[in-house]
């Protein structure tokens, strides 16, 4: 019969239309902004800078190495290094960014800055409702606007943040172990040096013959200039 194909199609549409009143699978419209679909955990929108602890300036992980600035495809990151240094999470003195601007209207969310950062300092946010009425500076974020705490990072990307924390803890443990070993070696050398000169002068301090029992007392950790200088 002529029109049979069209009728078949119309029954399909009718089934979906009637079904949308009874089954959630057939009702595919989400009434945004009253209803929102939860974003996937991996979603990436725009970058932010991670800081540890509560003070965003002191805890910022970024050391202004400018690798992300170089690798960024549309060159939307602008970094100026600081003149002084502040200690990082291992205790080493690092420079920090005096200026760290990201032009979010140019950023294309490619995540290359996150991939190449060696210090886990920049991560991707999931906030996308960022529209503003200021055309010329409204979407230029400076380092204060970009800083978010590590707790926030855990909230939006739990698995990723857990992995990053594990990696950083491992690095910190390795650095501390290195410092310990260096201190032990230095104390052993000092002890050997002392024992040679002990023949002439009676020195009673940390007994030279016995191995240094607690290297933590011999060398206060973390040593600012210790480690890999």
């Amino acid at each position: 019969m002529l029109g049979e194909g069209i009728l078949k199609g119309l029954t399909e549409t009718a089934r979906n239309f009637a079904g949308s009143f009874v089954s959630a699978e057939r009702l595919t419209t989400v009434q945004y902004p009253e209803q929102r679909i939860p974003t996937a955990e991996n979603a990436r929108v725009f970058p932010f800078l991670v800081y540890d602890g509560t003070d965003w300036e002191a805890g910022m992980r970024c050391v202004a190495c400018q690798i992300c600035e170089k690798e960024c495809p549309p060159k939307c990151i602008y970094i100026e290094k600081s003149k002084d240094k502040k200690p990082d999470f291992v205790g080493k003195m690092q420079i920090y960014p005096a200026k760290f601007d990201i032009d979010v209207s140019v950023c294309m969310s490619c995540q290359i800055c996150v991939e190449v950062c060696p210090f886990e300092a920049i991560k991707m946010d999931t906030e996308f409702e960022l529209s503003t009425t200021d055309r010329f500076g409204g979407l230029l974020y400076d380092r204060k606007q970009l800083s978010r705490s590590n707790e926030y990072y855990h909230k939006i990307h739990p698995t990723e943040a857990a992995e990053v924390d594990a990696r950083l803890a491992e690095e910190k443990a390795k650095a501390e172990a290195k410092v310990k070993a260096a201190a032990e070696a230095a104390a052993a050398k000092a002890a050997a040096g002392l024992s040679v000169s002990a023949k002439s002068t009676a020195v009673s301090a940390a007994s030279p013959a016995a191995p240094v029992a607690n290297p933590a007392e011999a060398a206060p950790a973390p040593k600012p200039d210790g480690g890999g200088e």
Binding site: L2, G3, E4, G5, I6, K8, G9, E12, T13, T28, T39, A40, E41, N42, A43, R44, I67, E71, C72, P73, M108, S109, C110, Q111, I112, E115, V116, M124
Partner: protein, 394 residues
């Protein structure tokens, strides 16, 4: 048609101008009506213009005009490193960003003879076939939209596409601009949870295809408007460099997955659908059948995917400087043959970076197919070519 569909070694007597568009004489008298269809047009798949000269409703001349989306991607790539060009390739054929990424990664891997671990190859195949399914479904939806179906088949296709895009977001972080492939593998590994979600989605696609076909396959309006329309002869298709579903609907058995044996496609059993009548209906049928074949490949790949790393540990992400040389790498993208031609002179930026866009080359024969038909058919024929302006203009 009398000529056997798959025998393209028929060489016609090559008269002068055999591969030029036919010259149509107008029936009536007076001037031809010159209409600019586009660039601001709901049916032109983007900012695309066609200068048509009409005699009543018949098309006498048709010239495609584009360049409205020209961003000079090739020159940008000459100024940035190889890695930084990867997010830009997402934006070429913005429907199918993962196949664009794969084509570029393949070309660079050919340039430096980089190996890829097995799990990464399986991930690439899975994502490429998912991309193919959602691209073909959307393309059919858009074709029906232009036929006047007011969006119903399109929204059904998009409902399925949303499920696939959610999978992409779960894996790569972004629905469309995935930036996932790297030179030597893939960026992140897929968790077992993601693979299970993919298996669920793939299990639901045959039902969707059946539902979709029930709408369309015997629909009288579709058949009346597309059968016998927009015929592309196989010799002309081959000579004009047409590739992809459009070529296979003209009966030519050339699928780069089978010809080049790139990736691990040799391990999967799949058929290549060919068309007999070389018209729009055949292009629609070839796309539907390719969706079904892709489902088969996906099921096999999801079953066989091994463990292991997804990135070759010796591959360099930063400071990538290939030796001087050149390479041309191509894949079977959903729209046709997507190729990248790279010339390296030893510096971190490519010396010459060229994209071979399937949509642009497929448009070469638009004129031949449209001349002599009505204006309403031009929209349909153009929709069956399935172009994306991001790729045509780069």
């Amino acid at each position: 048609m009398s000529a056997p569909a798959t025998d393209i070694s028929i060489k016609l007597a090559r008269q002068e101008g055999w591969n030029r568009p036919p010259v149509i004489e107008p029936d009536g008298e007076g001037e031809l009506l010159e209409v600019a269809m586009g660039p601001h047009h709901p049916s032109t798949h983007g900012v695309f213009r066609m200068d048509v000269a009409l005699d009543g409703e018949r098309v006498i001349r048709l010239k495609p005009v584009f360049g409205y989306l020209h961003r000079n991607h090739e020159k940008i790539a000459e100024g940035t490193s190889y890695l930084a060009s990867m997010p830009y390739t997402d934006r070429l054929d913005y429907f199918c960003s993962l196949t664009n990424n794969w084509a570029y990664a393949l070309a660079v891997e050919k340039l430096v003879a980089q190996t890829v671990p097995e799990r990464a190859e399986y991930m690439r195949v899975i994502l490429a076939e998912l991309t193919r399914i959602q691209n073909h479904a959307s393309s059919i939806g858009f074709l029906l939209q232009e036929m006047g179906a007011s969006g119903t088949p399109l929204m059904y296709a998009f409902r399925e596409r949303e499920k696939i895009l959610d999978l992409f977001e779960g894996l790569t972080g972004s629905r469309m601009m995935c930036n996932y492939m790297r030179f030597g593998g893939c960026r992140v590994d897929a968790s077992p949870a993601w693979l299970d979600a993919t298996r669920k989605v793939v299990a639901g696609i045959p039902e969707f295809v059946d539902e979709f076909e029930q709408f369309l396959r015997t629909n009288e309006i579709l058949m009346a408007r597309t059968q016998g329309m927009g015929i592309l002869r196989p010799e002309l298709a081959v000579n004009a460099g047409v590739t992809g579903p459009m070529l296979r609907a003209s009966g030519v058995n050339y699928d780069i997955r089978k010809v080049d044996h790139y990736g691990i496609y040799d391990r999967f059993k799949f058929r290549v659908p060919l068309g007999d009548h070389w018209d729009i209906y055949d292009r629609y049928m070839v796309r539907m059948l390719e969706i079904r074949e892709s489902i088969g490949i996906l099921e096999q790949a999801l079953k066989e995917i091994p463990g292991g790393p997804v990135m070759d540990p010796r591959a360099k992400i930063r400071g990538f400087r290939p030796k001087p040389g050149e390479a041309y790498g191509r894949i079977e993208a959903p729209k046709g043959e997507l190729g990248f031609y790279l010339i390296s002179d030893g510096s971190p930026n490519p010396y010459r970076y060229r994209v071979r866009p399937p949509s642009l080359i497929n448009l070469t024969v638009l004129e031949d197919m449209c001349l002599g038909h009505n204006v309403a058919d031009v929209v349909l024929i153009f929709g069956s070519v399935d172009i994306v302006l991001g790729e045509v203009d780069r």
